[in-house]
Symmetry: C2
Subunit: 578 residues, 2 copies
């Protein structure tokens, strides 16, 4: 039986409790959202003692299922005011699975201003003050933790941005090399962790076996089948391992949906310099590693290790969205500069998507010219230092627009749009508008059908069919995000029916359930969206918030010169099937 | 027939047009809200070309009706995202009345970055660039305008805050001495004016008579009756002329409803030093003027002229809300320091209420200690200079809280609460929660019945009866705000039935109508609230936004140790009678 570790910061008390019966078959996003919806007053201030930070590995995390190491973190978001789930790879999900922890729930606020450290091993958890970690970047923080607890522990940490409770603050998870490169980036969850006075969580799995399955043989068979499908699908078996996510740069740019200079154009003249192909060549030329798993057990390996010009580790290979955010969106065609910004974001503890979007808004507001890479990097250091300018930027694109009087703000529910312009890929626009999370590409990745031709094909430039497409994807995504499986398995599952069946077979064999695929989408997907939408409704969000900013409906985007014209009634119908 | 002056900043074109038939009997807030609701897309960005700034004198402005010189300015608010009307005294309303202008509507954006000047006289309006005014404070701006156009013109101007499009920016109106001391403060309307590239409007009434009434004799008789009621009522005839609005400091402090140090207590130990009595003594000792009208034709004279220690003009006597905002709420018990801040706010073009609330939030965030008057004044100068810190503060209390990680934010719909704590005066809390404008005391001043015993008495500490009280006041207020009459006439009207009848008689005699008092409240009051609520609904606001922040419901306020406990269903019922 999996447990919940309840961490009361007010009393500095840690206790294990049983997972409530209603949550017994939930994991990942399904569990964080169920607990946040049940325990957090929807109208509370996100930085108040009433908010709770919930950390949950997926249902399959801790097993040998391929790509099952995603960890979900949830809370009421300081950036959007909605419920929030953000997930990442790294080593923490598998560690929590081994520890038998379905969730860590952090509540209240400590009396002391000092940063706190939560250490968890097979005997339980204990809290202590850790003044020596105060203000440290994530890299120095994990270095100190490794020195104290050994190299094998998994770490969940925040950087200075989280300590300052800035709304762009991420939560970092150490990767397979012990570096803090995997981030639950979106929605400011690092600020919630900071508001709890919690700087770091250390997970020690010494002496613990993998999570036990109800039916180990059936599980092993299904996992083997699943691994084979992943290895043979062209996206998960070839493109992603070869070029990583940044393979998309040329693809999305060719589609005219590559947001450039604060969403003022759909193509970037400098794309060649920052494409996945160039990134791979650069990494190889510097003896970096072009294929690196984001978590133990990943069989895709779409990440990489990006060395500097001297061949020393600089950062993980920046992902497609990071390259876009700090690159095309800021008019910057310099992969090294982008990698430096990626490293700074990871160290300060910032969402790379929101920061790139924010810097672009600041550029539009006249703070520095588009294309100024050195200036952009300096802005990140302002955030680290907590200067007033840094606090503006660390509060995100919407606040930055407000402070600098900019009216072209590419946000939904206060969260900046990622690397796909909804005027040239309208399915993703429906997801941005109607997701429970604010503008979020991963909530329903219609780019698959709009641009990549995976799982069908829907014309990206027409409004027709986008709502139904996004609806189905949002439901399936919520389910996947609850398993601990990487979302990229969807490329394979969308194309290969037996791959989806293998996922359900793994879940049934591990959990002892007898779900059909419909049960799986219903219990982990639809029910999760219902809980999230109910929370948002109680927090004050209605259909009127499920809209893109007006400029997307009036400013045509070159080169297709299209506007976002999916009707409000289509948007309002997206979740009718829940 | 009154006209509308339509000002198209894109084409730099100014044209007079007929007032639409549906608006023929509207003025002030009724007209600004009707035009904003009809012409502004509710979902537009407040700083975009689609927003419009509407300036309208009241129906009686330009006549000899006592206290009829209030001017309303409306737009979609950059601070709240709601519809907004903010009104002030000064000389502009009477001037527009003489010019026969029911409204000035400013739309679009100019191509040039230069500030623009709109000059209006009996021949119409003309736009020109005014680069020499760029960045000037309101005092220097009106000085330049008077040098160019003579001392008798009325000026509507913005300071540097409006030019920077900051959400706390006000619109200044010159007073009877030609000083820019009367402000449409709330909701950031100065930022909308700034986003239109409009620095100043000059109104020249040379050669123009008073606005003609349909029945001059009946009008004169009703106005005379009304003037007599105002002169003999103890509030409008004695207290306000003697001590000004700041007479409230001791009264509200005694009631335990005087928000102190960012709404953490209901009494301020330093109240004596900043009370209306002390303010009057100080003014008299320095040979200032303790009784000064905020607009021509005001018979109450609740304002004053506050000299510095050398006896030179420093600012108008700071109003109760200003003294509170920069005083008790920041822990500052220094009237001279407050007057300096009042002057700085007026010059930079800032809402004194929002700035005081913002500085208190910044103090809670650790930026400076409570009570640091010199530090607070320095912060205002940061806003003037447009430093990053100044841009944070100039964006209001909610943004400042976000940037500095503060969770006790006394805002509704993004606008800071004024000088009455809703936990100890629950009727005003209902108004804060349910007003169409965000937290606004003038929208339904339940302090009259909760504390002052004017127009009845409702226990301030109990939730009972507050919703109905606020509902009736909100309707009556919207009607008064449409007449051009000062809201303070309500103290008299609430107590003296014939005073209310005299208002309706003046309106009928001037406009040629045959309204009953019910017609008056229905046409100018209820219909205005309906239009405003419909706009807000289309902008995305629902009942869920009609709430006070959670901390008001859980943190008890000393000395009464009460929380805000008017039920949500009571709040939701406030506007049921519309």
């Amino acid at each position: 039986m999996r447990s919940v570790l309840r961490v009361r910061m007010g009393a500095l008390a840690v206790a294990k409790e049983e997972l409530a019966e209603a949550c017994r078959l939930l994991g990942g996003r399904a569990l964080t959202s169920a607990l946040v919806a049940a325990e957090v007053p929807a109208t509370c201030h996100p930085l108040s003692a009433e908010n709770r930070l919930v950390i949950a590995p997926g249902l399959l995390s801790g097993t040998a299922a391929p790509c099952s190491g995603r960890i979900s973190i949830g809370a009421k978001s300081p950036l959007t005011g909605t419920i929030k789930e953000s997930n990442a790879g790294g080593t923490a999900a598998q560690a929590m699975g081994r520890l038998g922890l379905a969730a860590i729930v952090v509540e209240g606020k400590p009396k002391s201003e000092a940063p706190h450290l939560l250490f968890i091993n097979k005997d339980g958890g204990r809290l202590s003050e850790a003044p020596e970690l105060k203000g440290l970047g994530n890299y120095d923080t994990v270095k100190a933790l490794h020195e104290r607890f050994g190299e094998k522990v998994a770490c969940i940490t925040i950087g200075p941005a989280g300590e300052m409770r800035l709304a762009v603050a991420s939560v970092a998870i150490t990767d397979v090399d012990g570096r803090p490169t995997r981030h639950c980036g979106r929605g400011g969850l690092g600020a919630v962790m900071g508001s709890k006075g919690l700087k770091a969580i250390v997970l020690d799995t010494a002496g613990l076996p993998r999570a036990a399955s109800a039916n180990p043989e059936a599980f092993a068979a299904a996992a083997k089948r699943f691994a084979k499908h992943l290895a043979t699908h062209p996206v998960t078996g070839q493109t992603l391992p070869m070029y990583g996510t940044n393979a998309l740069a040329n693809v999305i740019n060719s589609a005219g949906a590559y947001p450039t200079r604060n969403f003022s154009a759909g193509t970037f003249e400098g794309v060649d310099a920052i494409s996945g192909e160039t990134e791979r060549e650069t990494i190889l030329a510097r003896n970096g590693n072009p294929r690196h798993p984001c978590h133990p057990g990943c069989t895709i390996g779409c990440s990489s290790i990006y060395p500097d010009k001297e061949g020393n580790f600089l950062s993980k290979g920046p992902e497609y969205e990071t390259v876009w955010a700090h690159g095309a969106n800021c008019g910057i065609a310099d992969l090294d500069a982008i990698a430096h910004m990626d490293r700074a974001d990871d160290d300060i503890g910032l969402d790379t998507i929101e920061m790139g979007a924010t810097i672009a808004v600041a550029m539009e507001g006249g703070l520095l010219p588009f294309g100024d890479a050195a200036g952009a990097l300096r802005l990140l250091e302002e955030v680290r230092s907590g200067t007033p300018l840094g606090r503006i930027l660390g509060s995100g694109a919407a606040v930055t627009g407000k402070c600098f009087g900019v009216s072209r703000i590419p946000c939904v529910k206060g969260q900046a749009m990622p690397a796909y312009d909804p005027r040239a890929a309208k399915g993703i626009g429906v997801t941005y508008a109607t997701s429970t999370m604010g503008a979020d590409h991963t909530a329903g990745y219609a780019i698959a059908q709009n641009v990549l031709g995976v799982g069908g094909s829907v014309n990206p430039l027409k409004p027709d069919g986008q709502a139904g497409l996004s609806a189905a994807l949002q439901q399936a995504t919520a389910a996947i995000d609850s398993t601990g499986l990487c979302l990229f398995i969807a490329f394979c599952v969308l194309d290969v029916p037996d791959a989806g069946q293998a996922v359900v077979d793994m879940l049934n064999a591990h959990c002892g359930t007898a779900w059909t695929p419909d049960d799986y989408v219903g219990i982990l997907g639809k029910a999760t969206l219902r809980a999230e939408r109910d929370f948002n409704r109680r927090a004050g969000f209605t259909a009127a918030a499920d809209r893109l900013p007006d400029f997307m409906k009036s400013e045509a985007l070159p080169p297709h010169n299209t506007v976002f014209d999916v009707s409000d009634s289509d948007l309002d119908g997206v979740h009718a099937g829940l």
